[in-house]
């Protein structure tokens, strides 16, 4: 009797542990975004113009340099910031001045932002400036998009296309 009870206990423990493990291995499920919504992702990497224009080295300066480094032009490696704005349905949801990466500030600036929006039609407008200027924009794109449930709508910037791409 006792022996049977013990075996029953052992089976019960193993069922509990293994059923628990199997159940929790994919349940309860997780919803990243609410039902009937989509995601707008603004993501690109982009190299802005150099901060300062190149400057010609003087003769004296050139002589001071080792022979293999006598480049007549002196260029700052540092890049400027990329300034971006994103409007969804006329409201500016993102505004950022993206600093260049890299220790000497010579790498691309990056952005990766997600916005959860309800499904349906949305007006999307993105603007960016990558030159030294402080007013106005160098690239822009806007349009009306209809987003389906769980759609992943990406706003990228492509060098090849020299502009923004919606996909």
């Amino acid at each position: 009797m006792i022996a049977q009870l013990r075996v029953a206990g052992q089976i019960a423990v193993f069922i509990a542990v293994f059923a628990g493990v199997a159940a929790l291995s994919d349940w309860p499920s997780y919803h990243q975004i609410p039902p009937q919504s989509a995601v707008v992702k603004l993501s690109f990497t982009h190299v802005a113009d150099r901060v300062a224009a190149c400057r010609e080295r003087t003769k004296e300066e050139l002589e001071k340099l080792p022979p293999n480094m006598r480049n007549p032009l002196e260029c700052s490696r540092r890049r400027g910031a990329v300034y971006v704005e994103l409007d969804i349905d006329g409201r500016t949801v993102y505004r950022g001045s993206l600093q260049p990466s890299g220790l000497s500030g010579d790498g691309p600036a990056r952005v990766y932002e997600r916005f959860v929006v309800p499904v349906g039609a949305h007006g999307i407008a993105v603007r960016m400036r990558d030159t030294g200027r402080s007013e106005g924009f160098d690239h822009a794109k806007s349009g009306e998009v209809v987003l389906a449930s769980n759609q992943n709508f990406v706003i990228d910037f492509r060098r090849e296309a020299n502009g923004f791409v919606f996909q």
Binding site: G9, V21, L24, S25, D26, A38, S43, R110, N150
Partner: protein
């Protein structure tokens, strides 16, 4: 909090003891089960790898084909791979919590604890790359959240998350990298598992066969009941919403949506640093480690044999005595359990020398002091049946005050000391009280003491000691009532046995033994 946890484990382990019996109790076997599960995961993983194709489309398709076209092998092994991995998380969490609860993470235990922490990261990295590889909707979710989190760290030039932006941005080579990581990380895991138990003598790496078989059978049943499945092919143009998360490996992933990525890393980093620092916050004020007394060490090597922590080793003799070797203690690894004192042939209380000394001794509880305490406790015994108890501090008798000699581990007591009590008639009976058999606090102490009492392991309890006068009770702190009942039964049995007459010190083997001890002593000294 630790004592609360400790009581919780006591309760669970006792319950498991009634169900499984002390030998098959799974809770003290967790480390061994961890190794066993690792082998299951490794073997099933190798099989899956044979049929796995790297590639954006191929990855998913090849796994679907393993799961459905050859469900009998591939399907079941895929389930083995998943569920054994999940069980490893359970085992790891409970095992680490238990070591914490038992206060086995500070002092000389720091090494196992400290090397256990990277095991957590390695196990999780193994599991996460595994889920990523399948390239179903869950994999897509894992890919996006993991890469977003990784991009927060200033390590990667091009953000990794951009690989998962659109269907066009992902390439096949990424899967080659992933499979490389999913094989490489578990190999590192295995290596660190080996380092983890380096300082443990005779680590228990294999669960009892019956337990292993039951785990395997349960895995088979669960694989048929709920075969591991993919969750629909990944589609980077859509958000993988409604994914069934593996809550063992991915419990923190939803946090990435609620908190900033910096906060998630702060939590992980903070928790890891806290675990790493725990052995020193605050450090254990432990008794001093044992010391070797060369004048009484004949280089027999028993202490090396019995130490549970690889803290003693034999080195070439350096004092010119005619022995080949001598014992040497690694103080940093010694937990002061005293098991070596109980194993040393020089630990014999029959010696008349006022300055009783032995080959290896605890500075805070030297053998001399142990004999003095034994004599003092015996002197207080009265009544018709005098019962003296040797009690391991972690056992049921550890809380008892009267007529009790307390030791760090029951195997600290040399069998000759028990002989001494009985043959010198210091008591009518001796209770030898150690930890519950399922799990001795000092791991090997209970087994060694059982072997010594049974005359199967050196140093043996001499045959002349009347076994009816000795009662060993293996019970944990919470098993007071069982302990009390067994003492009562023993006392009653002693009562019917009549008073102990002992062996007169001059005519009996006591003298012989004492003489022998002295001659050993001479031999050692000469």
């Amino acid at each position: 909090m630790r004592s609360l946890l400790r009581n919780g484990f006591e309760f669970l382990e006792r319950a498991a003891d009634t169900i499984f019996g002390p030998r098959l109790n799974p809770i003290p076997q967790l480390g061994a089960l961890g190794f066993f599960l690792f082998w299951i995961v490794a073997v099933s993983g190798i099989y899956l790898f044979i049929f796995f194709d790297t590639g954006v489309v191929d990855a998913y398709n090849s796994i679907e084909s393993i799961t459905h076209r050859q469900w009998f092998a591939g399907g079941v092994l895929r389930s083995f791979h998943r569920y054994a991995s999940d069980l490893m998380v359970v085992v790891l969490v409970v095992h680490a919590t238990r070591e914490f609860a038992l206060d086995r993470y500070r002092g000389a235990y720091w090494f196992s604890w400290f090397t256990g922490v990277p095991l957590i990261w390695l196990l999780y990295a193994s599991g996460i790359t595994g889920y990523w590889l399948v390239w179903d909707q869950l994999a897509q979710y894992v890919a996006i959240v993991s890469s977003e989190l990784l991009d927060w760290l200033p390590i990667f030039g091009e953000p990794i998350a951009r690989n998962f932006l659109t269907p066009a941005s992902l390439n096949d080579r990424f899967f080659t990298l992933l499979i490389f990581m999913h094989i490489g990380i578990p190999l590192v895991l295995l290596f660190v598992m080996w380092v983890h138990i380096l300082r443990i003598s005779r680590p228990n790496m294999n669960p009892p066969r019956a337990l292993a078989v039951v785990v395997l059978i349960s895995l088979v049943i669960v694989s048929f009941w709920k075969p591991a499945q993919s969750q629909g092919s990944a589609d980077l143009a859509a958000i993988p919403n409604d994914v069934g998360l593996d809550w063992f490996y991915l419990p923190l992933y939803p946090l990435a949506d609620l908190w900033s990525h910096g906060a998630v890393w702060a939590l992980l980093g903070g928790f890891t640093l806290m675990l790493l620092a725990m052995p020193w916050l605050p450090p254990l004020r432990r008794p001093r480690p044992v010391e070797v007394n060369l004048a009484h060490c004949n280089g027999c090597g028993r202490c090396v044999e019995d130490c549970p922590h690889e803290a003693v080793r034999m080195v070439p003799r350096a004092d010119g005595r005619p022995f080949i070797q001598q014992a040497q203690v690694n103080s940093a690894a010694c937990v002061s359990c005293g098991i070596c004192v109980g194993s040393c042939p020089s630990s014999t209380p029959f010696r008349r020398s006022a300055e009783l000394e032995t080959g290896i001794d605890l500075p805070d509880l030297p053998l001399r002091e142990l004999r003095r305490q034994t004599e003092a406790a015996a002197a207080e015994l009265s009544g018709p049946v005098r019962v003296l108890t040797f009690a391991c501090a972690h056992s049921a008798a550890g809380v008892q005050q009267k007529h009790t000699v307390k030791v760090p581990c029951i195997a600290t007591v040399p069998p000759s000391l028990i002989d001494y009590v009985v043959s010198r008639n210091l008591a009518d009976g001796v209770v030898v009280a150690g930890c519950a058999e399922r799990a001795g606090y000092h791991r090997l102490g209970v087994a060694w003491m059982q072997g010594r009492l049974a005359g199967e392991r050196d140093p043996r309890l001499r045959a002349r000691v009347q076994r009816e006068r000795i009662c060993s009770i293996w019970a944990s702190r919470s098993e007071q009532s069982r302990f009390g009942a067994e003492v009562k039964r023993f006392t009653a049995a002693l009562g019917s046995l009549g008073p102990n007459k002992g062996l007169s010190p001059r005519t009996d083997g006591g003298a012989e033994s004492a003489a022998k001890a002295e001659s050993l002593h001479e031999e050692v000294v000469s």
